[in-house]
């Protein structure tokens, strides 16, 4: 029924000299050629620590920005079988941030492999496939179905939009153990576990992921919230509740990253309200090793690439060899 993403824009991006995008594609960092921004997630080495947050990227964005400059891309969460997603409105903006209740429409693993995966492959960077499930037992089969496709998998145990009232799989360390152990059997590729904000103990959740064999944790998903329409006081979203994202959640997620990074050895990937290289450095300062950018890309599609370029500049300015030194420099203070 719907051609959507797959139909539109399949040719290589032509260069129009008359728009800012063309100039941005043309720009190449100069001084920073020798800077090493690479990070390792298990057996996978990323050229730099910047990637999109799941659900906030699609191959269509590759027409607008030089995606090859990113460390990796992360797909929208893929379920085993197709899902329709939630009723409109699926997103809105309020003063505290944006709230979405998209509800993870998915064409299922088979649909992803047939329609979307080839377009991700063209981007020229590692592809991290986000994997979802309604119950702990649903994750491993999807990983198995997808294996061969992704360079790594992010297990999304923290979507706030699947069940309006229920608790997340990811707020229960035992459920995390079950999900990750099974997925670990299903693939040798790196596994990232994306954790929720509303858990009693982020440290216990991160430890469970590590114990079960995860290669990294991503901290965190959006924060469940209920936006009201200002005039009528009725819910602004079809699903009543959604996930709050954007800069106002940063101080909350900074604490979670700090706690997770103290609890585990595996890398912590920070996600929550990152808009600039300064924000990324804040997360590095509390122990993150990589960052994901979500909401910021909507208003400024080039935000991720700007962050990569700014980190390169910062290393060059500070005369350090790479991101680790830059982080040490800040953390020492």
């Amino acid at each position: 029924m719907r051609p959507a993403e797959a139909e539109t824009m399949t040719s290589a991006p032509p260069q129009h000299p008359t728009d800012a995008r063309a100039a941005f594609f043309a720009a190449r960092p100069t001084r920073s050629a020798t800077v090493d921004l690479s990070v390792r997630i298990g057996s996978l080495t990323l050229a730099n620590p910047v990637m999109p947050a799941s659900g906030c990227f699609g191959p269509a964005l590759g027409r607008l920005i030089p995606v090859a400059e990113l460390g990796a891309v992360v797909t929208k969460t893929v379920f085993g079988t197709p899902r329709g997603g939630n009723a409109a409105h699926r997103l809105t903006e309020i003063r505290a941030g944006m709230v979405n209740s998209v509800g993870i429409p998915s064409r299922g693993a088979a649909g992803f492999l047939a329609e979307l995966h080839p377009r991700y492959r063209e981007l020229g960077v590692p592809v991290i496939i986000s994997v979802g499930g309604h119950r702990p037992a649903e994750y491993a089969p999807v990983v198995r179905d997808l294996d061969g496709a992704g360079d790594a998998y992010e297990l999304n145990v923290s979507c706030p939009n699947l069940d309006r009232l229920g608790t997340d799989i990811g707020s229960d360390p035992d459920a995390i153990l079950a999900v990750v152990r099974a997925a670990r059997q299903a693939t040798d590729k790196p596994l990232i576990v994306k954790l929720p904000v509303l858990a009693s103990s982020i440290a216990d959740c991160a430890l469970a992921a590590q114990e079960a064999g995860a290669d990294a944790v991503c901290v965190a998903n959006s924060i469940p919230a209920l936006p009201l329409q200002p005039d009528t006081r009725s819910p602004a979203l079809g699903n009543v509740i959604g996930g709050l994202s954007g800069p106002s959640i940063r101080p909350i997620v900074l604490r979670l990253v700090w706690l997770a990074a103290r609890a585990v050895e595996i890398p912590v990937i920070a996600c929550g309200g990152i808009e600039t290289a300064e924000d990324a450095l804040d997360y590095f300062a509390v122990g993150a090793r990589a960052v994901q950018v979500g909401t910021a890309s909507f208003g400024r599609p080039f935000a991720m690439v700007e962050i990569v370029r700014a980190l390169q500049e910062r290393c060059a300015d500070d005369e350090v060899a790479g991101i680790r030194d830059l982080i040490d420099l800040w953390r020492a203070q």
């Binding site: 719907r2 040719s11 008359t18």
Partner: protein, 303 residues
């Protein structure tokens, strides 16, 4: 009296609900276009003009060469609202491309000052620049054999149809344009239509001429002998339904441009579900890439 305000709010809500319900069963994705869609770009578009239009709208003239040259009628922009004095607008706002001036390398946008986003947008100064992404989405298409067209716009919905009035003028299609609004002073597009040589039917709420029965009667009379070859409509669910009814009566196709809350405008955030009932296991169409222009036809049951 606050209870009067409450009453007004109730009426407004009831109207909005009815307007939404009017689309029930009407919408379907258009078949693949004959013409390929232009490649979207983003640009730092210089603000050349930023003026009031009537009492409730603002008009932007933006210098953005690629978009001005490539945009198809009915496509839209995502406009990133710059921070004003601490107020941060996170999501870009979708806005129809009201007019294209390819030679000047400019486009025009007209918007209503409604909520936080457009209140902040209204502060943008001439000489500054706005980050815009476009042209986006699936626009209106006047069939190649059409010699006449009826276009119906209400409020800022007029902006979605005006580039089709440009197309009609360029192709020698006789365009009749219904411009609907609250009062005569609120009508968008009167001078645009005059410039483009289109016949205008202005209808307004204050004299009752914009009511659906009155407008239906008027259009049925107007086109009794010579129905238009296509109807393009934007701005209200009840107008889309009227258009679909007329389309069924006259046996002509109807296209409608819809709105939805958007984040990316490019089809990847999946935020802009169109009001089309589908199997719960299949994602329905997205307004930003499958629309904003859809086909509108009365559901078979109601024929």
């Amino acid at each position: 009296m606050a209870s009067l305000a409450r009453e007004a709010l109730r009426r407004q809500q009831a109207f909005a609900a009815a307007d939404e319900a009017a689309l029930d069963g009407l919408i379907s994705v258009r078949p693949p276009a004959g013409q390929p869609r232009p490649e979207p770009v983003w640009d730092d578009a210089r603000v050349l003009e930023h003026t009031n239009v009537g009492q409730r709208y603002r008009r932007l003239v933006l210098a953005t060469g690629t978009i001005a040259r490539t945009a198809l009628a009915g496509q839209f922009l995502m406009i990133t609202v710059p921070p004003t004095g601490g107020e941060r607008i996170l999501l870009p706002r979708p806005m129809a491309i009201h007019r294209r001036h390819p030679d000047a390398g400019t486009v025009e946008v007209i918007y209503g000052v409604a909520g936080r986003g457009t209140i902040a947008l209204a502060d943008v100064a001439v000489g500054g620049s706005l980050l815009v992404t476009g042209p986006l989405g699936r626009g209106f298409e006047i069939p190649s054999d059409a010699r006449t067209a009826l276009l119906i716009g209400r409020g800022v919905g007029v902006c979605a149809i005006m580039a089709s009035v440009e197309d009609a003028a360029a192709r020698g299609v006789d365009a009749t344009v219904v411009l609907s609004g609250r009062t005569r002073f609120d009508l968008i597009g009167v001078t645009d239509c005059a410039e483009l040589g289109a016949a205008v039917i202005p209808v307004t709420d204050d004299d009752g001429s914009s009511s659906i029965p009155a407008l239906g009667e008027r259009l049925r009379a107007e086109f009794r002998d010579n129905p238009p070859a296509v109807i393009l409509v934007c701005g209200a669910g009840v107008l889309a339904r009227l258009a679909a009814e007329l389309g069924a009566e006259w046996g002509v196709p109807v296209q409608v441009s819809l709105e939805a809350h958007m984040a990316c405008g490019l089809g990847y955030c999946h935020g802009c579900a169109a009001p089309v009932a589908t199997d719960p296991e299949v994602e329905g169409p997205l307004v930003c890439v499958d629309g904003p222009v859809f086909d509108a036809a009365l559901p078979v049951s109601s024929l």
